[in-house]
């Protein structure tokens, strides 16, 4: 469905992505893990067209990603990125309001909010009135509002307590299963990896260092991957 080949991106002298190869199948949930500053978010931004890659290709259903793709994906940002000046229902219905009457868009928005566990009393509030977990849910409702074929999640559990993080992970998994959408999640939260992933890819030094299923991940011989999974500082960096 999505095929990334040889993706490269530099910022000045710093090479962030150095030939990333990645594929995402129909209905598959891929989780990209990696340390801080390894280029996970840059990879996502390149796929979404928010950053221009220096080299490589990104194909969707066999063709380069173009404007038609923009209407077929949903995105949950790290801090939800809800529009402060709009009430929650208009945030959720933002894309819908261009293609259906206001009343109908509001009904769809309320249904999507209900799907992520937010009641109608939230609809007319502004984002500033919501807690971090509720904002994340509202962001998730916006991401799925237009029934996307691909959903991107950028650090979906950052800033949440373990219970709320588990609840967001469960929601993501349920939504991916229900809708049949493909999903790419960027995270370094191993709880998210185990709850969401069909397949895991480890990004290190600008390349995909390892990829496989969660079961394969636990059994992998790659020492860096094992350090990452178990939160161990590598011997050479133990003093950092």
């Amino acid at each position: 469905m999505i095929e990334v080949r040889g993706l490269a991106k530099r910022f000045g002298d710093k090479t962030v992505l150095d030939g990333v190869d990645l594929t995402l199948g129909q209905g598959e949930s891929l989780v990209v893990i990696g340390g801080s500053g390894t280029g996970k978010s840059v990879l996502l931004r390149c796929i979404l067209g928010l950053e221009r890659a220096d080299a490589g290709s990104i194909m969707w259903n066999g063709a380069p990603i173009g404007p038609d793709f923009m209407d077929r994906f949903g995105m949950l940002f790290q801090n939800a990125a809800l529009f402060d000046s709009l009430p929650i229902w208009r945030n959720v219905a933002f894309r819908l309001l261009r293609r259906m009457p206001r009343a109908q868009a509001r009904q769809v928005a309320l249904a999507k909010l209900a799907r992520v566990g937010l009641g109608p009393e939230v609809a007319d509030l502004y984002p500033a009135a919501l807690s971090g977990g509720m904002r994340k849910r509202a962001g998730l409702a916006r991401a799925i509002a237009a029934d996307p074929q691909v959903i991107f999640f950028d650090e979906p559990t950052t800033g949440l307590d373990p219970i709320r993080a588990a609840s967001i992970n469960r929601l993501i998994r349920e939504i991916v299963d229900e809708t049949g959408a493909s999903a790419i999640t960027i995270t370094h939260d191993m709880g998210s990896v185990r709850a969401i992933a069909d397949r895991v890819a480890l990004l290190d030094q600008g390349r995909i260092r390892w990829q496989g299923t969660v079961v394969q991940m636990d059994a992998a011989a790659d020492s860096y991957l094992q350090d990452f999974i178990h939160g161990r500082a590598p011997q050479s960096q133990s003093g950092v």
Binding site: R45, L48, G49, L50, P67, M70, D71, F73, M75, F77, Q78, N79, A81, L82, F83, D84, F94, R95
Partner: protein
């Protein structure tokens, strides 16, 4: 290998290229903003309220005190050569041609350019502008065009109202402190005021509106990371708008009245 003696030349050349690149980028940004006038009428209405209506008190008060102080100054200076009677005409012409548009523009720059830069800068660092792109919405059309057009449309009205209030400030001082007859003051104000005195101020107002909104939007949309980035964007927007207004005022005054 470039000889060391050429390093200053190279630096000047690089600075010139960057300047031209910046001018080109701002010009394209402005053209895109101006092209999107009818894209989001609801947002335009909201910005007309924010930029126009809510700036009225600050512009009105500035004009009132400026007109009053101008009357005192002209009377005090004019008396040195027995020309104290020209107060009404000079206040009216001064407000309409220069002080109304310039001080109105500067007050709106302080209030609006900073607010726009802070709002858009915060949207930039909290990824709201990226979110607009992922929702197939052009951020310039949605965020910049309504603000730019609202400022262009509102400033002439604010300047016009400021002119009237400023002349009224002069009248209040003239009648209550300088001994002018009320009817004579008003008659003299009108008698020497020409159409182009007022119209030129309104045209200046529209130009200053463009400068104010463009500065706020440009620096807000290009804010750096974090609170410090938003702070820098806000300061830069107000400084650029203020200097831009004063420079444009000089250029327009030269164009209109030489």
């Amino acid at each position: 290998m470039i000889p060391a003696a050429l390093t200053p030349v190279r630096l000047v050349g690089r600075a010139c290229l960057r300047l031209l690149e910046g001018i080109g980028a701002v010009t394209i940004f402005a053209a895109r903003a101006l092209a999107g006038i009818a894209a989001h009428p609801g947002e335009l209405a909201r910005q007309l309220l924010h930029i126009g209506w809510l700036s009225l008190p600050v512009v009105g008060l500035t004009a009132l005190f400026t007109g009053a102080a101008l009357a005192l100054q002209i009377h005090s200076g004019g008396e040195r050569f027995q020309a104290g009677d020209v107060v009404p005409a000079i206040v009216a012409i001064g407000m309409a041609r220069e002080l109304g548009p310039v001080l109105g523009g500067l007050m709106v720059a302080a209030r609006v350019a900073s607010a726009i830069a802070a709002e858009l800068g915060t949207m930039r660092v909290t990824e709201q502008i990226d979110a607009l792109v992922t929702l197939s919405t052009d951020p310039v059309g949605w965020l910049v065009s309504p603000r730019v057009w609202a400022a262009i449309l509102c400033l002439p009205f604010l300047v016009g109202i400021g002119d009237v209030i400023g002349i009224m400030g002069g009248w209040l001082v003239g009648v209550n402190a300088l001994g002018f007859n009320s009817a004579t003051y008003i008659a003299n104000s009108w008698a020497y005021l020409e159409f182009w005195d007022v119209a030129s101020g309104l045209v200046k107002g529209a130009a200053f509106g463009l400068i104010v909104a463009l500065s706020g939007c440009w620096f807000g949309m290009h804010a750096g990371n974090g609170a410090a980035g938003v702070g820098r964007a806000t300061t830069s927007a107000v400084v650029a708008a203020s200097v831009g207004i004063l420079a444009a005022n000089f250029a327009l005054t030269g164009l209109f009245f030489r």
